[in-house]
Symmetry: none
Subunit: 240 residues, 2 copies
């Protein structure tokens, strides 16, 4: 079952106390792998330990990263814990479906949580396969970080006992790194062709392309094939 | 649905902060009725408000009682949130069954939560119809008050019928004809670039590309975007 435990990624967390509480919430449901992206007050943070109330092992093993890209490079299923984004067209699922998907895949999964106030940036959300949203009182939707973590950890734990691994006829999806390679290659080539214009729309267009490719579920082999296709399309000389 | 909302009873809560956080957790899932039994630092408590992050209505309406007996006098179904008690022979249920029972009964229900460290006393637990226990990591079972509240409030809300978002709200996939247009365009362009070689492998390669694009589930809008990308990639002149 170990392989199916999601990694909890805290992106730019502000308070050490909240990191500690998130660690405690994780360990309550048997999750141990925490990754921290650019915590505001550096790492380690002396305020995290006391707030973890004994979940020190999670903090001791926490890994530090500069950006989301590096933090999820080895993951194949990424969920962004956030509300629906008007600027992104991507699947929005509930905690149960997230837990089912994590349980069914057998691949490394990660759940991204944004900073306490500002949340995740659009480009970060666009790296995920799906947005996961807890169905919450629409008139009072302010959830703190550790509580968002415990709800998703609970749901994962609850569903994990029941999850039936589905027949895996398909190849597993490519890793985030592989997909990133494809997206970067495409962006570079499109840049050279002057595709991104006007400049004010560039980031939005890139986000759209990212979500289009992220949700394909393409395997490593398929990503390689498409990279070959892009090379062929831009190669002016290649006539046989 | 209102009649089925459980009352949250905090018994001898110590920190005003925790009372505020519990209020916030309640309101996140639409619960508004809080009762306080002999809070250590009296009531109102100036530390509760800031911790409630806007759930002031729950605190303002909170009712104060001297003992558990009075606090649950008008309730017909009582649940005690605690671990199993060796000294009591009574039903122990999980959050789901609790939620089912609350939903099914139509009677006033209450959930008792004990003090931060000491929990509920045996006589208090004995007043409940059942113990409700969140299935938690047995090696790390220390949950804080507000987190216990949010997990049970979430479960209540989940069973009560707050719809979970589903992926259905996404754009529908493009029609076969649209996808075919994309695949044909790509094949034509790749043909011009001499991508299909040797001839004996051409059909197999085309089949592979077809399956890669067919299973993306791209919408009409996304198919159009990718067709634009292909045009940009093959256009030698398009520099801006």
């Amino acid at each position: 079952m170990t392989a199916n435990k999601p990694i909890i990624v805290l992106v730019r967390p502000q308070l050490g106390q909240n990191i500690g509480k998130a660690a405690r919430a994780m360990l309550n449901f048997g999750l141990t792998e925490m990754r921290l992206v650019a915590p505001r007050d550096g790492w380690p943070n002396p305020e995290a330990g006391p707030a973890a109330s004994g979940a020190d092992i999670v903090l001791e093993q926490a890994q530090l990263f500069d950006n989301v890209h590096d933090a999820i490079a080895d993951c194949r299923q990424i969920f962004a814990s956030t509300v629906r984004r008007r600027d992104l067209v991507m699947p929005v699922i509930g905690p149960e479906e997230m837990a089912d998907r994590i349980g069914a895949s057998g691949e490394r999964s990660a759940i991204l949580f944004g900073a306490e106030r500002s949340g995740l940036e659009t480009e970060e959300v666009a790296r995920a396969s799906a947005i996961v949203t807890v169905p919450i009182n629409p008139e009072f939707a302010s959830v703190n970080l550790a509580q968002a973590v415990i709800l998703l950890a609970y749901e994962w734990s609850r569903r994990t006992g029941l999850a039936q691994p589905t027949a895996k006829e398909l190849e597993p999806p490519a890793s985030h790194r592989e997909l990133e390679g494809l997206i970067n290659q495409l962006n570079d080539e499109l840049e050279k062709k002057g595709y991104f214009h006007p400049p004010s729309r560039t980031q939005a267009t890139k986000n759209t392309l990212r979500t289009i490719f992220t949700r394909t579920g393409w395997s490593s082999r398929e990503v390689k094939a498409i990279r070959g296709v892009i090379r062929a399309l831009v190669d002016p000389a290649r006539k046989r």
